[in-house]
């Protein structure tokens, strides 16, 4: 697949996420520098870069877990300002999966999955459980619904976290290093879940260093360093012919370990 093909594939689709001239500071630290990024509906983006490059910060701005100092972010038509209504709307339409899973430890797998649909979409318990069961089966964990998160392996917990996000029927999913906290033998089951989600046409932004995953599903790979987008390309060109010195250095680092 060539660069022009992969971008053309989604070029007609309406934009799901638009970031324009986004600037973010933590005190004196310039975390995001003039970020421009448009993600089309159905597009899969892999964000990579060294630690501290701003990639997690970038996706956390999309659902307003982080606030920005200037620029604008529009998600599925909602302009993220300080208006709580817009923030609520975006959070209902965008799911997020965290590095540390962040399941609710005092609730069972099923209760984790039905809480938000019941509280936000006002579904009845029966309706919410039906949806939850569907998504739990989708991530191959339907038989664990009655357990508490601590009784599951890391890979299972992360799949529950994905199912919990899917229960809100999101239009896009953000993944913040979803496999970084997992033991190596559990990485594959989580990546397989994400791949199947991608195949079904979910709009996804994944912060990950799993380059095999990037090659397999990404329409674009974006490389960040020091709060800037340094380079973006389709996976083939990105891995075979990185343009910038910093990208080459980074790829050399991470591929050396694989």
């Amino acid at each position: 697949m060539t660069n022009s093909n992969s971008i053309a594939k989604h070029s007609d689709a309406p934009a799901m996420i638009q970031m324009r001239h986004v600037e973010k500071w933590y005190g004196d630290f310039h975390a995001l520098k003039n970020i421009d990024l448009t993600v089309a509906t159905g597009e899969k983006i892999v964000l990579c870069g060294p630690s501290g490059s701003g990639k997690s910060t970038l996706i956390r701005c999309i659902n307003h877990l982080e606030t920005i100092q200037s620029g604008e972010i529009i998600v599925n038509g909602h302009r993220l300002t300080d208006s709580q209504a817009a923030v609520d709307a975006v959070r209902q339409e965008v799911g997020m999966v965290f590095q540390q899973f962040n399941l609710f430890p005092h609730k069972t797998v099923m209760e984790n999955c039905i809480l938000a649909p019941m509280r936000v979409h006002k579904l009845s318990r029966a309706q919410a459980e039906k949806t939850a069961q569907k998504y739990l089966e989708r991530v191959h964990i339907g038989d664990q619904a009655h357990k508490h998160p601590a009784q599951l392996s890391g890979g299972q917990q992360q799949r529950v976290a994905i199912a919990r996000a899917l229960c809100m029927e999101p239009k896009a999913m953000l993944f913040d290093e979803p496999t970084s906290a997992l033991d190596p033998e559990m990485v594959k089951e989580v990546l397989d879940t994400m791949i199947s989600l991608a195949r079904d046409g979910m709009t996804m932004i994944c912060v990950t260093h799993e380059m095999g995953f990037a090659r397999q599903v990404a329409d674009r790979v974006i490389f960040m360093a020091n709060g800037e987008i340094v380079e973006e390309n389709d996976p083939e060109s990105f891995f075979s012919a990185p343009k910038h010195e910093r990208t080459r250095a980074f790829l050399g680092e991470i591929l050396a370990h694989h």
Partner: protein, 214 residues
């Protein structure tokens, strides 16, 4: 010491338990309110809660009882003794419980809050479905510890003329002229109430630290 004296002491003991229950029952809702105000990002909520905690933790319970018992009538509130004591104990308990629960709420990891926010849960649900149940669990040992303090603290209500266990012991002792026996019995009664509670608190703490190591 005859049955008459003993039943007088038991009547005092029931008041001690009653006052503890009042202080705790009042302290729980007000303490939750104080804790929630204390973790709010709104200065108008947080600052009064901090002042409340500072005031009632920074002054002796005895003084708080005096103020409620002698001070409130001066302001035109004519309250029976038990009501004045109940107000003082509630204020006292709410400041300590509020601070215990504030710490527990803040100990629940940021990740839990972020997961709740990312799911779009309303603030109320985030607090009552996600944060507070977990905070309540980790705060149980400290909460039980405070319950023991409160139970012993009710003895100060004797000062404003309230006949709870300590005051009842004083009266019986004056009648019998056998202070060592009477206060020995009174002490044993306090011990019989406090020690099981302390033991339960320790148990909770142990089972929790075991759970944390899993």
């Amino acid at each position: 010491m005859g049955t008459q004296e003993l039943s007088y002491l038991l009547l005092g003991l029931s008041w001690t338990l009653g006052l503890t229950a009042i202080g705790f029952a009042g302290g729980i809702p007000f303490g939750i309110g104080i804790a929630l105000m204390r973790v709010s990002s709104n200065n108008w909520l947080r600052r009064p809660a901090m002042a409340w905690i500072g005031l009632f933790q920074g002054t002796p319970l005895l003084m708080q009882l005096f103020v409620a018992y002698f001070g409130l009538p001066l302001l035109g509130f004519n309250l029976p003794a038990w009501a004045a004591v109940a107000i003082a104990l509630t204020a006292h308990a709410s400041s300590f419980l509020g601070e215990i629960w504030r710490g527990a709420i803040q100990a629940i990891t940021k990740g839990q809050t972020e997961a709740a926010l990312a799911l779009g849960l309303p603030d109320r649900s985030r607090m009552f479905d996600v944060i507070l149940p977990q905070a309540f669990k980790i705060s149980l040992p400290a909460t039980v510890g405070f319950l023991v303090q409160l139970l012993k603290g009710t003895s100060l209500a004797a000062i404003v003329g309230f006949i709870e266990l300590t005051r009842a012991g004083n009266i019986v002792s004056n009648q019998l002229y056998r202070p060592l026996l009477v206060f020995g019995v009174v002490g044993a009664m306090y011990f019989a109430m406090c020690w099981p509670l302390s033991w339960w608190g320790r148990k909770l703490e142990q089972s929790m630290s075991k759970g944390a190591n899993k």
